[in-house]
Structure formats: structure tokens, C-alpha cells
Symmetry: C2
Subunit: 252 residues, 2 copies
């Protein structure tokens, strides 16, 4: 034991724990939990098996759960953004952080979202639900709608599902197109969904009006407005010619 101890003393307890967790996240992201042994984690971290057990007496199961919990916590933190500036800019900042996490921790992200465990799907699902809840709360905070009605709540929930699906597809497709392109498209997606939902839900209409008032021509929503405008001609036939608002959002 003195041998390994001599080698390991350079890391603090917290540093060692972080190192073992990082090795676990990497391994559990690429393999099913039952394929990974404590020896694998020890080898990946360059430490002895007893050292791993000293930090994680529950062995593989404890390592797996700790790795997934850490991934979930980091993902949830991506959604935290100061309530300043254009809402679509804040959304872009959140998405930039989210995709940076997905990019840097692709294996852990897949493991967390896809489950793929034979022993603890329900616990992994609970972690993913925590991330979704945290994300939903943050988005509603920025919309100044902490107690949303069912349609607005569903809107946010469905957008978060889109973000997850896009992230997993992005990983499957070899991370193409660029994360910046996806991030701005998903911010646009949110703006579009807000307007479309506002068209049939009065609460969302109020929230959307307040949110749009905080946008500027240079914000992501402002840029979207100018890019969508040329498409309006394709919808002119959908609005009656004598209508009071013939030049509205989908008309020309």
C-alpha cells in the first residue's frame, strides 16, 4: 500500500474523486454499465482497484450513479443565465453552454439521455427529469412566467425535448452541422414556437408580447425577423385580400 500511496498523494481527496468520476463518465458513456468493472475504472484513472473502492465503496453501481448525477448537475447548470438583455440572446447563451457540454462530454450525455443501463433505468430517468425540470424553470423564469398554464408549460417542455433530440442526432451524425449553427437554430425554434403558441393561447400571447418588447434588431430574434420576412410572400394566398391586417406576420 505504501507504493500506491506514495504515487497518489499528489492529488487531494476532492481532486482524486473528480478524477475517478471523470474516468467513470468516459467509460460509462461508451459501454453498458455491466461491461465496465472497477478494474476498468482503476486502469483508466491509472490507480489501483483498492483506491477506487476507498472512494466508492459501492463499486460499479456507485460509480455509475455518481457519474450520471454529475453529468445531470452540469447539464442543469447550463440553463442558469442572468436576467439581462434580449431574451433570445440569453437563450443563445444557454444553448452555447449546453452544446459545449454535449460536445465535451458526448459519451456521458448519451449515457444519461439514452439510459442504456440494465440495472437502473428508473434512476437515470429520474436524473434526466431533474435536468428537464431545472431547464423548464429557468426558461419560464426568463419569460417571467413562473406559474405557467398548461399550454405554456407544455411549450417549454416540448422545446427542451427538441433540444435533447437534436443533441443526440448531432452526436450520431458526427457533430455536424457546427454546434454554433444548431445553437442559433434552436434559439430561433424557441422564438417561432412562442409566436405560434401565442396564436392560440392567450397567456402565451401576453408572455410573447413582453418578451418581444425586450428584443432589439441586433438580437437573435431581431435577426430571425429579418431572415423570415422574405418568406412571407409564400403565404400571401392564405390571408383574405380585404383583411384588416393584410400585411401581418404571414402576409405581405
Amino acid at each position: 500500500m505504501s507504493g500506491p500511496t506514495r504515487t497518489y498523494t499528489r492529488l487531494s481527496v476532492e481532486q482524486r474523486r473528480t478524477q475517478l468520476l471523470a474516468a467513470s463518465i468516459e467509460l460509462f458513456g461508451r459501454h453498458r454499465p455491466e461491461e465496465i468493472s472497477v478494474d476498468d475504472v482503476a486502469a483508466a484513472a491509472g490507480v489501483s482497484r483498492p483506491l477506487v473502492y476507498r472512494y466508492f465503496p459501492g463499486g460499479r453501481q456507485q460509480l455509475y450513479e455518481a457519474a450520471m448525477r454529475q453529468s445531470a448537475d452540469e447539464l442543469a447548470r447550463c440553463f442558469i443565465e442572468p436576467p439581462e438583455g434580449a431574451p433570445s440572446r440569453r437563450m443563445s447563451n444557454v444553448l452555447d453552454r449546453y452544446f459545449a457540454y454535449v460536445d465535451q462530454h458526448d459519451a456521458a450525455y448519451s449515457a444519461l439521455l439514452r439510459g442504456g443501463s440494465v440495472v437502473d433505468t428508473s434512476r437515470t430517468n429520474a436524473l434526466v427529469d431533474d435536468v428537464r425540470r431545472a431547464g423548464t424553470e429557468q426558461v419560464l423564469f426568463h419569460l417571467a412566467a413562473p406559474r405557467p398554464g398548461p399550454r405554456l408549460a407544455m411549450m417549454v417542455r416540448s422545446w427542451i425535448a427538441s433540444v435533447e433530440a437534436v443533441s443526440l442526432t448531432w452526436l450520431d451524425e458526427g457533430k455536424k452541422p457546427s454546434s454554433g449553427e444548431l445553437s442559433s437554430w434552436l434559439a430561433d425554434h424557441f422564438t417561432g414556437l412562442l409566436l405560434v403558441t401565442a396564436a392560440s393561447d392567450p397567456e402565451t400571447a401576453t408572455v410573447a408580447a413582453k418578451s418581444l418588447a425586450q428584443e432589439s434588431p441586433g438580437s437573435p430574434a431581431g435577426r430571425l425577423a429579418r431572415r423570415v420576412a422574405p418568406l412571407a410572400g409564400h403565404t400571401a394566398h392564405l390571408l383574405p385580400p380585404g383583411r384588416a391586417v393584410p400585411d401581418g406576420m404571414l402576409g405581405r
Copy 2:
């Protein structure tokens, strides 16, 4: 054996199999697979345990997989729609069928989408992937884009993820609001997403233009256009006053 046989001869082999599957779908939707025994399926179907084994020699595992496969097949069939009329109307028809399925088979839908099995998450995931693939193909068929680029493919995939998330949330919330309301909102969501994606992806812009040309004032997309128009005033400050298309989609 003559006793049960006498009672059971009223059903054909196919009818009996269908009946056992229906009982299985119901039970596996409400309970984790390991909580359900072949005896439970037999009792729910009002038949003997040996009869269940005659149809499903693999017992519980085979029943579970057959139930999930049948649910997946039925869901995938919801997406099949003739290529006639306004695309947004076809989308509404698909969604009406999808929500009718979710409503009538809520337990099976949850079991399929959430996994929740301790023994076959990966097989259930593969079934769900089949449904998503079938749904994506049908949507792309109606968009006349059978070989989409990455952005258009991701758009459809992300919308299907929204449909799933909304369906699960709807079941959690006691099926409120009405399925008709959700169905038309999700059709609107698709139209909005198509336009927003068209703003930054040339292929989607072409597809959106062709799709919108097939819409009419009375189609769901036509109704959406008229409902969104009054919201355009909230975005006037995002377009420069001297712009060539000041009265475009997001302007007024």
C-alpha cells in the same frame, strides 16, 4: 385440457392472440415487467396459464416484447396519410390518429416511450427508434424531400421528439387540454418550425415554399396565418424602417 378447450373454441387463433396481447399491453403499461406474471395475463384475459404458454412459450418476456412491438407498429401506422390536400391538413389528420392512439392506449404508450423495463431497455429503445424513423420518413414524404439534408432531417426529428414529450406530459396531466387542441397546436408547431428553419437553411426554404403553395385559407396553416397576423405588431421594432420588405412576416 378439454375443459378450457371447450370454453376457448369461440375465438380463432388470431383472435386469441390479439386478446392475450391486449391484456398484456394493458398490464405492462401499468406495471414494471418484473411485477407481471403469466398468471396475471391469464387472469386478465380470463384464460388458463397453459393457454397463455401455448401462444407465448417464452412467457412473460415474449409477451412483453410482443406487446411493445404491437404498440410500436400501431403508432407507426398513425403516420400513414394519402398525399392529397393541404400538407397542414394531412399533418392534422396524422396527429388526430396519433393522439387517439395515445388516448386509447395510454398505458402501452408510456411503457413504450419510457422504457421502464429492467430487462430490455435496449430492445424497447430500438422499437421506439423504428417508430421515429417511420414517422420521419412519412413527414419527409409529404414534404417531397425523401433525401433531406442534415438540417431538414433534424427539424423533422426534433418535431417528432416534441410530439412525444407533449404526449407524455398530456398523460401526466390527466389528458388536459383536449387532444384536439394539442393536435392542432402541434400541427401549428410544425408549420412554424418549417418557416423558422427555412430562414437559415436553403433546402428547407425550397421545401417550405412548395409546401405553403399547397395550403389554402381554410387549411390549418391558413388559419394559423390569420391568428398569427395580429401578433406581428409586437415585432415591428425588429425590422429597420427603411427596409424593402417592411411588411413581411414579422413586420407590420
